[in-house]
């Protein structure tokens, strides 16, 4: 992964509400952290919000006041990082806000999310960005970083005051939702990056080729009579922008790849030494345009669900490392907006609360990818933006997700933490459920049933107290 050029920003790049530092012992959990080289049953002690000790099962004697979680049979991973969410704040707090969005993230096992700037008003100046950091310091259950827009109003014309935004804690820059259509504007942004640093994260799409498209262009769009968004709408822009970044020596991140041709383009760019990274969403890894046959707007998003060969190429890209990380592109929409005919409904699906379980069920259980690879790709989003990746290592801040891989649940059966419910996995039976999330040293989430069981246990065993 490439380091981010430029001076360090004045304001910290991540914000969250102050939490109580955790004091707890995970007793005999199966720890998996490919980055730390851990895979096995261990005790893990968190003291003052830091990983204080990792030792063989039952080796650690907790101090008084330490919560003991009997985690025999459960798995603990470094908590996940989602480098691409929409928290709809400011402007559409009816769909999501910093509190509900970070609660949804914690429920999905995430310890860090990065929010996109396509808000209303657009996060394209230091005052909007500063106010977001201030609100996050009051409301956010887990650390949040904010990307700022590349162009004013995301209109694709003039650059934002990127240097000031960087000082105000912009974690990167993006016009996500729309492409930077002009090659000239993108080139200027890449040049300006030498001053302000910050990864440029690109939504790659040629608006002329996508036009009014509502789904992937192919046999299914032909059958449904829906205007298509061709694969080349994405891949030609990936190629163009990788070429410009190579020429200028800049640093790019390609958001939500969906097409086989785009994976190839990123692979070629990396091969030529261009500083480029890429992400993919759970829905593009698990679903195809076949799902759109139902004309259910829950399967409408941009980029669209594509063909099986695209899905296979994305999985292969994830395996080979051409695709660096998984991102949900969590995009909440108000209920009434998704209760429109497919062609009219807005694009986007939520994803924070289902990402791990859906991928574990769809890719790990059938043996398509290994659990360690999934954990790696679900935490790698931090390094893309030059942030430290969560690790299960002594001295690291405690960022831990405790998961019951055998738990089976139906998506939506107990409602959602997110304010919006537009998940394309609604009603699906999934395996693997997040039980506890520790983010930046504090417990950010406990699954309700699990929390009750623990309370019962601690009552039964007077020695272990909260």
């Amino acid at each position: 992964m490439n380091s981010v050029p430029g001076p360090p920003p004045a304001r910290p790049r991540l914000s969250s509400a102050e939490g109580r530092p955790a004091e707890l012992l995970l007793r005999s959990a199966h720890l998996i952290d490919p980055r730390a080289g851990i895979d096995g049953r261990n005790d893990l002690l968190v003291r003052e919000g830091e990983v204080a000790e990792i030792a063989s099962p039952d080796a650690i004697e907790p101090a008084a006041g330490t919560e003991v979680i009997e985690a025999e049979g459960l798995h603990a991973f470094p908590a996940f990082v989602d480098p691409h969410v929409h928290l709809r704040t400011p402007g559409r707090e009816d769909e999501e806000d910093l509190d509900s969005g970070t609660r949804a993230a914690a429920a999905g096992g995430f310890c860090l999310v990065l929010a996109m700037p396509n808000t209303d008003p657009v996060t394209d100046n230091a005052s909007v960005l500063g106010s977001l950091h201030e609100r996050a310091a009051l409301e956010a259950r887990i650390p949040v970083g904010f990307l700022a827009a590349i162009t004013r109003g995301q209109s694709g014309d003039e650059l934002t005051e990127m240097a000031e935004l960087a000082l105000e804690g912009a974690v990167g820059f993006s016009d996500d939702g729309v492409p930077v259509a002009s090659a000239e504007v993108l080139r200027r942004a890449l040049q300006y990056q030498r001053l302000c640093g910050g990864v440029l994260a690109l939504h790659e799409e040629d608006p002329a080729l996508s036009a009014q498209g509502a789904m992937h262009e192919g046999a299914v769009s032909t059958l449904l009579g829906l205007e298509g968004i061709p694969s080349i709408s994405e891949s030609t822009m990936v190629e163009r922008d990788a070429a410009i970044a190579g020429y200028e020596g800049g640093r790019l991140h390609m958001l939500h790849l969906s097409a086989a041709e785009s994976v190839l383009a990123v692979e070629r760019a990396k091969g030529q030494g261009v500083a480029v990274t890429a992400e993919v969403t759970p829905h593009h890894l698990l679903l195809t345009d076949d799902a759109v046959r139902s004309l259910d707007p829950l399967f409408k998003m941009n980029p669209p669900l594509r063909a099986e060969r695209d899905r296979e190429a994305l999985i292969e890209g994830l395996r080979s490392g051409v695709i660096d990380c998984i991102a949900t592109d969590h995009a909440p929409h108000a209920r009434q907006e998704k209760e429109e005919p497919f062609e009219q409904a807005p694009m986007g699906v939520t994803g924070l609360e289902t990402a791990f379980s859906a991928l574990y069920t769809g890719l790990v259980v059938p043996g398509v990818i290994g659990l360690d690879l999934l954990v790696d790709r679900m935490t790698a989003g931090a390094s893309v933006y030059g942030l430290p990746a969560p690790m299960l290592a002594k001295g690291s801040p405690a960022n831990i997700t405790l998961v019951d891989l055998d738990a089976e649940w139906r998506v939506g059966e107990t409602g959602y933490e997110s304010r919006s419910h537009n998940t394309c996995f609604a009603g699906r039976e999934l395996r693997g459920r997040v039980m506890v999330t520790i983010a930046s040293g504090s417990v950010a989430y406990r699954e309700r049933g699990f929390a009750v069981r623990l309370a019962d246990d601690s009552l039964a065993a007077p020695g272990a107290q909260r």
């Binding site: 262009e217 046999a219 769009s221 032909t222 449904l224 829906l226 259910d296 209760e339 429109e340 005919p341």
Partner: protein, 316 residues
């Protein structure tokens, strides 16, 4: 059949059941008193969000001929203009407990959405560029009446296939009935992977002689603005069906309304080969059959109950 949302949902047996019922209604519409009591006391809502003459009038008349009570709602002047969502409109109209809702919308997926949000039988009378299943059924009916069967009949659908819900529904319906279908039009107006619909694709009319039936599509003038073809003049030169191109043994169809002088030359429209008026007449009986099949039909395979066709007594 619970709903008629798309031809893609139908089997050949489903199609044939509707055609059989339509046959029996054909006799009714030739009587002096053209009304039967089949759907007496039941309510049918026609909800048209897009302009339509043929489809809306024939659905309305079909319902009336079956003695149903009919409510017709058009977008202009309705609460939709005031910003009501389709879901809420459906909830409102559902308060009348309609047996069926017939919907036309400019958006693909509208009929499927209505079917999700109400308990009435839903008939898709055209949703965006997706499907227009009642048109396909009446076209199959028209051809079957003329030819006896569609088995191995060679049908060419010519024109703007990309934007045509009629083309999509008809390719599916004709092929289900055993016909061989070729779609033909400017390459910019043929959708990607068109052959996946089960048809052949041609870009010029050089092999039009193979066709037993030529089905011309309406060439919408507004498509010119998007530069799908360089000019209407060039389109007509390449694709217009005229007296030179149409052989005497070939039948001609068109879903209407026709652009005279663009997709069809005047001489073929008025020729005895043209089935265009037959199509409109078929529209009525086929739509009666659709409503009957959804609201009174047996629904089980091969278990169609024939409608009782005694004439309604006229009030004094």
């Amino acid at each position: 059949m619970k709903h008629l949302l798309s031809i893609a949902d139908l089997s050949r047996a489903d199609i044939e059941r509707v055609l059989d019922v339509a046959e029996s209604f054909a006799e009714v519409v030739e009587r002096d008193i053209k009304k039967v009591p089949t759907l007496r006391g039941r309510t049918i809502v026609n909800l048209f969000y897009e302009s339509s003459t043929r489809t809306s009038s024939s659905f309305e008349l079909a319902a009336k001929r079956l003695s149903a009570d009919v409510v017709s709602v058009r977008e202009a002047g309705s609460s939709v203009e005031k910003g009501e969502s389709l879901k809420d409109t459906i909830a409102t109209l559902s308060a009348y407990d309609p047996a069926a809702i017939v919907i036309r919308s400019p958006y693909a997926g509208a009929a499927a959405l209505v079917a999700r949000y109400c308990s009435a039988a839903v008939v898709n009378a055209g949703d965006g560029k997706h499907e227009h299943p009642s048109q396909a059924l009446l076209d199959v009916y028209t051809l079957k009446r003329r030819l006896g069967t569609l088995e191995d009949v060679n049908i060419w659908i010519v024109g703007d296939v990309l934007h045509s819900r009629v083309a999509r529904s008809n390719v599916l319906a004709f092929t289900r009935m055993g016909a061989r279908v070729t779609v033909c039009g400017p390459p910019t107006l043929i959708p990607r992977d068109a052959a996946s619909l089960g048809c052949e694709v041609a870009y010029d009319l050089s092999r039009l002689g193979e066709a037993d039936v030529v089905y011309a599509l309406r060439m919408q003038r507004e498509r010119m603005a998007s530069a799908f073809v360089p000019s209407l003049r060039e389109y007509a030169a390449c694709y217009q069906i005229d007296g030179r191109r149409l052989e005497p043994r070939q039948l001609l169809m068109h879903p209407g309304p026709v652009n005279r002088g663009i997709e069809l030359a005047a001489e073929v429209i008025d020729s005895p080969q043209a089935l265009i008026v037959d199509q409109v007449a078929a529209g009525l009986v086929v739509r009666m059959a659709i409503l009957y099949e959804l609201l009174s039909g047996g629904g089980e395979e091969g278990a169609t109950r024939r409608p009782h066709l005694e004439t309604v007594e006229q009030p004094a």
